[in-house]
């Protein structure tokens, strides 16, 4: 087991390196650069030249890449290019030492600042939405599988199809309109915009839980209901398949009580498809969802995935994709470990 984990983690290194190389050169291959224009105006070439010199974009691309990897300090020696902190001498330290570089769009901010600031909120939203999705979706799926072709099944399927079909783009403004503007139950926006539930992942003691959840409830609901529908459909299909397996028939033949058959033997196995989708879904959700963040005015990471590409903000593009990849490979590892636990036939060490 431990050897399996170690082998997998070592295997991540070439994957991450490949992603960095690919993204680095692809981002620079898109037409246009970060400093061509402000608004509708083109900048004079002389000004672009100054900006490119400041951020080393005038270097050959392979040199930019080495400096991105190992940092300017190692690459060209202690040249002060980016005054960030008065206390520490200012270099770019390179991604290998955890410095994701400066943002071109938000002058004076680094990619580490941006991700450190936006990731916690996106992660809170993503985790809560997945939990809500599981809490609603898995039981709904089980019920409709066990009561197949009854009104319970039909209504659960109907709701699930509805949940999958209504995009959050529609759901979110609808929630705001009903529960915020008309009923006044929940605040419309600005979860995470104001202290104290902002920067720290772990919330400070003596903190206002009511306020926190009143902000969180609508975004989590808008995101979680769509997930619950997906989970319900998967769970139903998978459980229906599992209860037709031979070993279930065997269990019944032994004279086990039906609830025991389902609970002990069928459920665990039928969770495998759900766990499989949770892996990539987890990575995608906790790194932010653009639409929900946009509509509820959340200061999350999702918009930076999109905006950084529009702005040709290369370091932010790389930083967000790198964080996403890291989370993705680790959550896939967890999924593989979960397989071993859910299905005794899967041996990880083999």
């Amino acid at each position: 087991m431990l050897r399996f984990i170690i082998r997998r983690i070592l295997g991540f290194i070439p994957v991450l390196l490949g992603v960095v190389i690919f993204t680095f050169f692809m981002a620079r291959a898109i037409p246009g650069g970060p400093f061509d224009f402000i608004g509708d105006k083109s900048l004079p070439p002389s000004v672009v030249k100054n900006l490119e010199a400041k951020y080393h974009l005038d270097w050959p691309e392979w040199e930019q890449f080495i400096s991105y990897l190992i940092g300017d300090e190692l690459y060209i020696g202690p040249v002060k290019i980016f005054d960030l902190d008065p206390e520490t001498p200012a270099y770019s330290y390179g991604v290998l030492r955890g410095d994701l570089g400066p943002s071109f769009r938000y002058r004076g901010q680094t990619v580490n600042d941006i991700i450190g600031r936006t990731f916690p909120l996106s992660a809170q939203l993503g985790v809560m939405a997945i939990i809500l999705g599981l809490v609603i979706g898995v039981p709904a799926g089980i019920i409709s599988a066990l009561k197949q072709n009854t009104w319970l099944d039909y209504s659960a399927t109907f709701v699930a199809v509805l949940g999958v079909s209504i995009p959050s783009l529609v759901m979110a403004p609808l929630l705001i309109w009903i529960f915020s503007v008309n009923l006044g139950w929940f605040p419309a926006a600005t979860w995470g915009a104001k202290p104290p539930y902002f920067q720290n992942m772990f919330l400070t003691p003596g903190f206002d839980w009511g306020n926190y959840f009143s902000h969180a409830v609508m975004p989590v609901f808008a995101l979680g209901t769509g997930l619950s529908a997906t989970f319900a459909r998967l769970m139903r299909a998978s459980l229906l398949q599992v209860i037709r397996e031979d070993y279930i028939r065997t269990a019944r033949a032994k004279g086990l009580h039906e609830s025991m058959v389902i609970y002990r033997h069928a459920l665990k196995n039928s969770l495998i498809p759900v766990v499989t989708v949770i892996g990539p879904m987890f990575a995608a959700l906790i790194t932010g969802t653009l639409v929900i963040e946009q509509i509820f005015g959340l200061n999350g990471m999702g918009k930076h995935f999109v905006q950084s590409i529009t702005n040709r903000d290369y370091a932010v593009v790389l930083g967000t994709i790198l964080i996403y990849t890291i989370i993705l490979v680790f959550s896939n590892l967890l999924v593989d470990l979960a397989y071993g636990w859910l299905d005794p036939r899967i041996r990880l060490d083999a």
Partner: protein, 633 residues
């Protein structure tokens, strides 16, 4: 059965959180003591020599903004405002966008200001200024009673900044000189440095090259800005420029606090570090989340500033901001297009509705070297066939102003819309195209099959709607077929560059232009002059790829001369003629509309709508009792 997995999830989250906390420059509210090198600038009396000395001292720096004590701002007159986006910077030398520039207006004073009603240049830090005979030397006389202040977000105290000797600092001419030179310094890499190129040697120093492209010998000391004494600053220009007082009021030339910038580097604009001199100070800036300004009690006109606290959120989605407005959580906001009809029908909201000017113009550029748009009759036909008012009434619905020339009202020298240039004239359009067809011996069908005319715009729902409407107008009024193509923004901007090979260009492209400073020079000259402007429409070109021009045209000469002219009345006349030539005689482009913004404002807020846009919160007033009552407090 979920317990193990849930546990696993929690562990993973905890690990990620720890990583994020490390990643995010450890936002712990700790006070640390560090040794700093502070560069102090002293002025020796009677001389303009500055002595720079370096001292080591112990300073206590707190990086994290304190969690707001409840009630700190209770019972203060508070404006709730939506910035709409995270401001990319507050640094006056680096700001480029309207959000940052608006905030800088409230934090830093300029040499000059713009009248909130007329948009004319008015005195601010400079009480008056003289111009030399030849119009190349501007001497600004400064008031010396505006204090530099530092605000401590923890205590809420605003104190005047002192120099190394403990003397209070007032904004002086040396701060102006420093600010200008910092913007021009190529190491600062200021986007807007190019507007300072009118200052002597600024271009050469900023680009590092002389006029022939050789490395320059000049340094920042050779730039034509000099503080003669504390209250006098002199700008020497390359050429006479009647519009220079407007440039002098721009954010990039505002006085900047050298001591703070030297001490904190690029972080000097953060709350708790920044030193300012305007009507407001920065209390809090949670990047991407919210920002708070509070009134500067030491501001010279503090008694006239009624709003004490400005709470700002950064909601990008217009419909969400509008929901906040309906919940009384914002005091004013823009109206999203889908809500427009409801707002107009609602008895209360319609009273709160107001159309505010925005100094921008939407236009379609013709590529003047691309067949058949190299013929003025075709260009004129396409421009005259656009029903601007119809477009505004049926598609835009925001009370925009139909444009017949380039610069919008409020810009110095801009003609009144509709008086000069080219507007909607379907008869003229038809006749003009017919004349072209007759000369070429073509039928309309042949025209359509010969030229595959393409209109380009950047990908956006709004631009697509406008393009579809205008495409239909061309079909109805002229009978021509036009294909519409869209491209991603940055790809699009590459396509419509003047240097793009002509075969890759569209025939017609859409673009907008907004004022940097309120003068026609920023418009007709900088955009369309074939010698010095960006001239994306390729007017006056000798070859399709516009490598050579055909020599200065009347328009080029007029716009160049108008910039150098000192007499305001003559300048207005010259620009009027130039605008007419550009839009009507040459029909180099099709002006479409001048922007507006549709805003709703709560009855308790009295605000202005300056012709140049922007938000000068210090001029606004709030009826706090009515506001509190509405919010149920």
């Amino acid at each position: 059965m979920f317990s193990k997995k849930t546990l696993l999830l929690v562990v993973v989250i905890a690990m990620l959180a720890a990583v994020a906390a490390q990643c995010g420059a450890a936002p712990t509210p700790e006070t640390v003591t560090v040794v700093q090198t502070v560069v102090v600038t002293k002025e020796v009396q009677g001389e303009t020599v500055t002595v720079v000395e370096t001292v080591e001292k112990e300073v206590v720096v707190t990086k994290e903004v304190e969690v707001m004590a409840p009630g700190k701002f209770d019972n203060k007159v508070t404006l709730h405002w939506n910035l709409g986006t995270e401001p990319p910077t507050l640094d006056p030398a680096l700001a480029t966008d309207t959000t940052s520039v608006d905030l800088d207006r409230n934090l830093f004073v300029g040499l000059t200001d713009f009248d909130p009603v007329t948009g004319d240049v008015s005195p601010m830090l400079a009480t008056d200024w003289d111009v030399s005979e030849d119009g190349t030397v501007y001497t600004f006389h400064l008031r010396t009673d505006i204090p530099w202040v530092h605000y401590d977000p923890k205590t809420g105290e605003t104190v005047q900044v002192t120099d190394a000797d403990g003397n209070p600092r007032f904004v002086n001419a040396f701060d102006v000189e420093y600010g200008a030179k910092r913007t021009i310094n190529p190491d600062t890499a200021s986007d807007y440095a190019y507007v300072t190129y009118i200052i002597k040697n600024a271009q050469e120093v900023n680009t590092g090259e002389d006029a022939d492209g050789n490395p320059t010998e000049l340094t920042l000391d050779d730039v034509g800005v000099k503080a003669l004494d504390e209250s006098t600053v002199q700008f020497t220009l390359e050429n006479p420029a009647g519009y220079f007082p407007a440039i002098a009021g721009m954010w990039v030339l505002r006085p900047q606090p050298q001591w703070a910038i030297d001490a904190y580097g690029q972080r000097w604009i953060e709350a708790g570090l920044i030193d300012t001199n305007g009507p407001y100070v920065l209390d809090e800036w949670i990047h991407g989340g919210n920002m708070r300004l509070v009134k500067n009690p030491l501001w010279i006109n503090a008694d006239d500033v009624q709003i004490e606290v400005i709470d700002m959120v950064m909601i990008e989605e217009a419909s969400t901001a509008f929901a906040l407005y309906e919940n009384n959580e914002l005091d004013t906001t823009g109206v999203p297009l889908p809500e427009m009809d409801r707002v107009k029908a609602d008895p209360q909201l319609s009273k709160e509705l107001r159309i505010a000017p925005v100094p921008c113009t939407y236009y379609y550029g013709f590529v003047n070297t691309k067949v058949p748009f190299d013929d003025v009759r075709v260009r004129r036909a396409f421009s005259a066939a656009i029903d601007r008012q119809g477009l505004i009434d049926n598609v835009l619905k925001g009370g925009q102003i139909p444009a017949t020339s380039f610069a919008p009202p409020g810009i110095f020298g801009a003609p009144e819309p509709g008086t000069v240039g080219q507007g909607y004239d379907p008869e003229l359009a038809k006749a003009s195209l017919q004349e072209f067809l007759d000369e070429k011996g073509m039928t309309l069908d042949e025209f359509n099959s010969t030229y595959d005319i393409v209109l380009g715009h950047n990908t956006s729902e709004g631009h697509a709607k406008i393009a579809a409407a205008i495409q239909q107008m061309w079909k109805d009024n002229l009978g021509v077929d036009v294909r519409v193509e869209n491209q991603e923004w940055k790809v699009y901007l590459q396509t419509i560059k003047k240097t793009t090979p002509i075969e890759d260009e569209f025939h017609i492209f859409r673009l907008g232009w907004c004022a940097d400073y309120p003068d026609e020079n920023n418009w007709v000259y900088e955009v369309f002059n074939s010698e010095a402007g960006s001239n994306r429409v390729r007017r006056n070109c000798a070859d399709p790829n516009c490598e050579e021009t055909t020599g200065p045209s009347k328009f080029d000469e007029l716009t160049a001369a108008a910039g150098k002219e000192q007499d305001p009345q003559k300048r207005i006349e010259m620009y009027k003629e130039a605008e007419d030539i550009l839009a009507r005689e040459e029909a180099a482009y099709a002006p479409i509309y001048h922007y507006t913004s549709v805003v709703v404002t709560k009855p308790w807020l009295t605000r202005n709508y300056p012709p140049l846009g922007g938000a000068d919160f210090y001029n606004w007033k709030i009826d706090a009792d009515a506001q509190m009552a509405a919010m149920g407090k």
